[in-house]
Amino acid sequence: MPDDALRSPATLPALLAVFVRMGMVSFGGGLSGWMHREIVERRRWMSEERFLAALALGQVLPGPNSVNLALQIGLHLRGGIGAAAAGIGLLGPPFLVILALALLYGRYGGAALVNTALAGVAAAGIGLTCATGVRAARRMRGVGPFGIAAAVFVAVGVLKWPMVPVVLAVIPPSVALAWRSARQERERRGA
């Protein structure tokens, strides 16, 4: 259960704060996992369906996936200014940190132990991504959606086919399937 203190409205400062925090704690990927946890699960600022649609759309459009997802979340919550807050919050502080790190690196060289620790953090970050996938999959109903998810995973992940054509080919049948099951559900409710 999400803590009640977190069920706060998505004000602009709150939005900025949560994206600053996510930008600074994400190492080696896993940002979509963080956003799902903070925005959908804990704060309930966005529905699961809308979040996943934004995630898929953000991957098809050009630009870094995590930034695209953050912009759409900000846009959904607070419009254009919200998108700006999400993007600046996510990128601003890490931008300064990475330059500071480059300065330190130039002066002292790389610390092997820090790199080893970061490999561990990155591996756990992959776990955060997987947990997001498992939670999202739990909400899918019927064989069709699981077949589509499996096909996308095999084509893009295992066979390394180019992502954009695969996604563009899979979206029409997937949307048609969703359209049909939504109609069936309406009819069942009506009957």
């Binding site: 996943l52 991957q59 050009p62 912009l71 591996a123 955060l128 939670r135 969703a178």
Partner: protein
């Protein structure tokens, strides 16, 4: 730094912004070619160093663009490269998002969202696999990822604690001479 260097940075990164499908990894190769071979802003070895720094820094991996800009033209270069990489794609995403909001109530939009969900699930796991591959993950990394997944499926598990613990365990193994890599 000469303003023509800033202009050169913008001319390298703004087009990359609009072809960077899937984010950072898809444009690293071209970024390296432009920075090292075409413009000679750094050596091959320096680019590899920047890549290592960006992997160890918080935030999206695409922020390596800021490092390339910094190497080429100092702090103004870092700002120019980051803006050129993020602004064009961001404006496009916002334009598409605004278009979507106009049709918020349509049942077709609801079906599109519902139909995109399984595609997103497939992409999430494909992304996890790609990250494991890119980091040349060994047994320790795969085991950590699996344990972290199980731990984080608990709604009360804190990602900061789980990720921090994984970092400490790896550092301890490294200090004991059992470096996982």
């Amino acid at each position: 730094m000469a303003p023509d260097r800033l202009l050169a940075l913008v001319l390298v990164f703004a087009p990359l912004s609009l072809v960077s499908l899937g984010g950072g990894p898809s444009i690293f190769a071209e970024m390296q070619r432009q920075a090292v071979e075409v413009h000679g802003w750094m050596t091959e070895a320096e680019f590899v160093d920047l890549f290592a720094i960006s992997r160890g820094a918080p935030g999206p991996g695409s922020l390596i663009a800021a490092l390339v800009g910094w190497k080429a033209a100092g702090f103004p270069g870092a700002v120019a490269a980051a803006l050129a990489l993020y602004l064009p794609s961001s404006l496009l995403v916002c334009a598409v998002g605004v278009l979507g909001r106009r049709h918020a109530a349509s049942p077709l939009r609801a079906a599109i969202e519902r139909g995109l969900a399984p595609v997103a699930v497939g992409l999430i796991f494909a992304g996890a696999l790609a990250l494991l591959r890119a980091s040349e993950a060994g047994v320790a990394e795969v085991a950590t990822a699996v344990l972290a997944t199980l731990a984080l499926l608990h709604p009360r598990a804190s990602p900061v604690l789980v990720l921090g613990a994984a970092g400490l365990v790896f550092a301890a193994l490294g200090a004991a001479g059992l470096a996982p890599r």
